[in-house]
């Protein structure tokens, strides 16, 4: 039979020799192994002080993007909600009123946009589905919380701050 890995070892089922039954040699061997581990590099990451580097494709908390003028890119087309395998995204569309051009990029925008982070599996399909480059998954880890309600992220939680408004 073909071996799956080169680490496979044939088990020796012959009766134990006297040396094996005495147990002390194997005990010494075991103690040697554990002694060796004392000097090994520790695998621990001291979390709050040091953080593990993420892989370039890490998918964390979502954000809703703005365009270069600070207007929301999302048009509430619903493709992200459709693509979402966990059905975590809900939204309500609304029509842009005259005079709101600086707020919303196109005539239709999301009045309500919610992601249930307890349902979300961070697959990133919403990011792939979005035709307007509005939703992105960042490198932020989902923070823990105490209540279920606090895991439902509203549009205000997701939307990145407007750089222009911030500078005003």
């Amino acid at each position: 039979m073909q071996k799956l890995t080169n680490r496979a070892v044939q088990i020796d089922r012959s009766p134990m020799t006297f040396g094996e039954r005495v147990y002390l040699p194997s005990l010494a061997k075991g103690l040697g192994i554990t002694l060796g581990h004392i000097f090994k590099k520790k695998a621990t990451t001291r979390y709050p002080e040091e953080k593990r580097p993420f892989s370039p494709v890490f998918r964390g908390l979502h954000i809703l993007n703005r365009d270069e003028n600070g207007a929301e890119r999302c048009t509430a087309c619903g493709l992200c909600a459709l693509a979402c395998p966990a059905e975590a995204i809900t939204m309500e569309a609304a029509e842009r009123k005259p005079g709101e051009e600086h707020l919303y990029r196109e005539e239709k925008y999301a009045a309500k946009y919610e992601i249930n982070m307890l349902r979300c599996i961070f697959c990133g399909y919403c990011e792939e589905a979005c035709p307007k480059d509005a939703i992105y998954l960042t490198e932020t880890i989902m923070p823990a919380n105490y209540t279920r309600a606090s895991f439902i992220y509203k549009k205000e939680d997701l939307l990145i701050p407007d750089k222009k408004q911030g500078s005003k």
């Binding site: 005990l27 075991g30 520790k42």
Partner: protein, 359 residues
């Protein structure tokens, strides 16, 4: 009525010594819990407690405080008085054994007064240790029985039978040693192991009784209920063991007693087999410190403590290396391997003493 004269200085001396030893063993037991977690951590490539204070050194304090503030639960259907008595007995017997360990050589003050660093030099020191250790089973047994929990009861029965089985091999292995020393007093046993090299041979009993040492060590693992013989508390079979129903400081007492037992049994092993406070070239060190004899005494005590700590580290080391024995394996090892081996060892020692060395 000379005999009835009370030596006040002696009483004060002993009271101070007793309190220092009690506090010391409590402190060492406290830091043994920290040490155990650190040792287990480094052996598993982890860091271990490092949040409370530098290197997590305040961790035992935090643990103790936590245990104090936990809710005290006494199960409805437990036998109240015995339920409380259990941990007290465990703690009492754990602390009792330290009375006969000689912690250092005699210190003679300038006025010619001899201060002994041993609470009681009784001539049956080892027997006392054995007696106190056997009493320790009562703490476990009563606690397990009074909990009115079948797992606790099973575990305490295991603990008792394990202790009884291994005490036998332990005693026999010691008989071989006692034939060599000719005394039961721990103080004399230590003084016989003076220095390191004596009359062309090592003076420590370990080199005279290596098999006896291995048997004694194995048995003390079993007596302490530590891995690989921690069957009384094997989590996978008995949930938590005899202290399952205990909470708060009563649980703390049980856990603590275990560590004190480890400290004391390390002290006994060091005293019996590794020369107690003796160390190589101690005569020249004593000569060099003649001007300050207290210095020599302190060095001796520190040497003893170092040996004890090494022994404790070895105990932890083994615990985090070996898997737990099965119960029948444990009994087989005790009755069918260690006891015959101890008997043979005793026989060989006797033959050697009688016909080869002609003592």
């Amino acid at each position: 009525m000379l005999l009835l004269q009370i030596d006040t200085a002696l009483i004060i001396e002993k009271v101070i010594l007793i309190s220092v030893i009690l506090m010391g063993s409590l402190g060492i037991a406290m830091y043994a819990t920290w040490g155990e977690r650190k040792v287990s951590a480094v052996m598993q490539d982890r860091i271990g407690p490092n949040r409370a204070g530098p290197f997590g050194l305040l961790q035992p304090l935090a643990d103790g405080l936590k245990l104090f503030f936990k809710e005290e639960i006494i199960p409805d259907r437990s036998t109240g008085f015995i339920f409380v008595l259990g941990p007290c007995l465990a703690m009492l017997t754990a602390l009792m054994t330290s009375a006969v360990v000689p912690w250092g050589p005699d210190y003679i003050t300038e006025s010619g007064r001899v201060i002994s660093f041993q609470v009681a030099d009784i001539n049956i020191g080892i027997l006392f240790v054995f007696g106190a250790v056997s009493l320790g089973v009562y703490g476990v047994m009563l606690g397990g029985w009074a909990s009115n929990n079948k797992f606790s009861l099973l575990s305490s029965i295991r603990a008792a039978s394990q202790a009884i089985s291994y005490e036998l091999a332990m005693g026999i292995s010691l008989i071989a040693l006692l034939m060599l020393t000719g005394t039961l007093s721990l103080r004399e046993i230590v003084s016989q192991q003076h220095g390191f090299w004596n009359d062309g041979y090592f003076s420590w009993n370990f080199f005279k009784q290596p098999i006896g040492f291995i048997i004694f060590l194995t048995c003390s693992f079993a007596e302490l209920c530590r891995a690989p013989f921690d069957l009384p508390e094997c989590d996978s079979e008995l949930n938590m063991g005899y202290h399952q129903e205990y909470s708060s400081m009563k649980l703390g007492f049980y856990l603590f007693a275990e560590y004190i037992n480890m400290f004391i049994s390390s002290a006994i092993i060091v005293t019996l087999f590794f020369g107690g406070y003796n160390f190589p070239f101690m005569d020249s060190v004593q000569h060099a410190t003649l001007a300050h004899p207290i210095l020599f005494t302190i060095i001796c005590i520190l040497v003893l403590l170092t040996k004890i700590i090494c022994m404790i580290l070895f105990f932890m080391f083994v615990r985090w290396t070996l898997p737990r024995f099965r119960y029948d394996q444990l009994m087989k090892l005790g009755w069918r391997s260690l006891i015959p081996l101890a008997l043979v060892n005793m026989l060989i020692t006797g033959v050697l003493i009688l016909w080869v060395f002609k003592k």
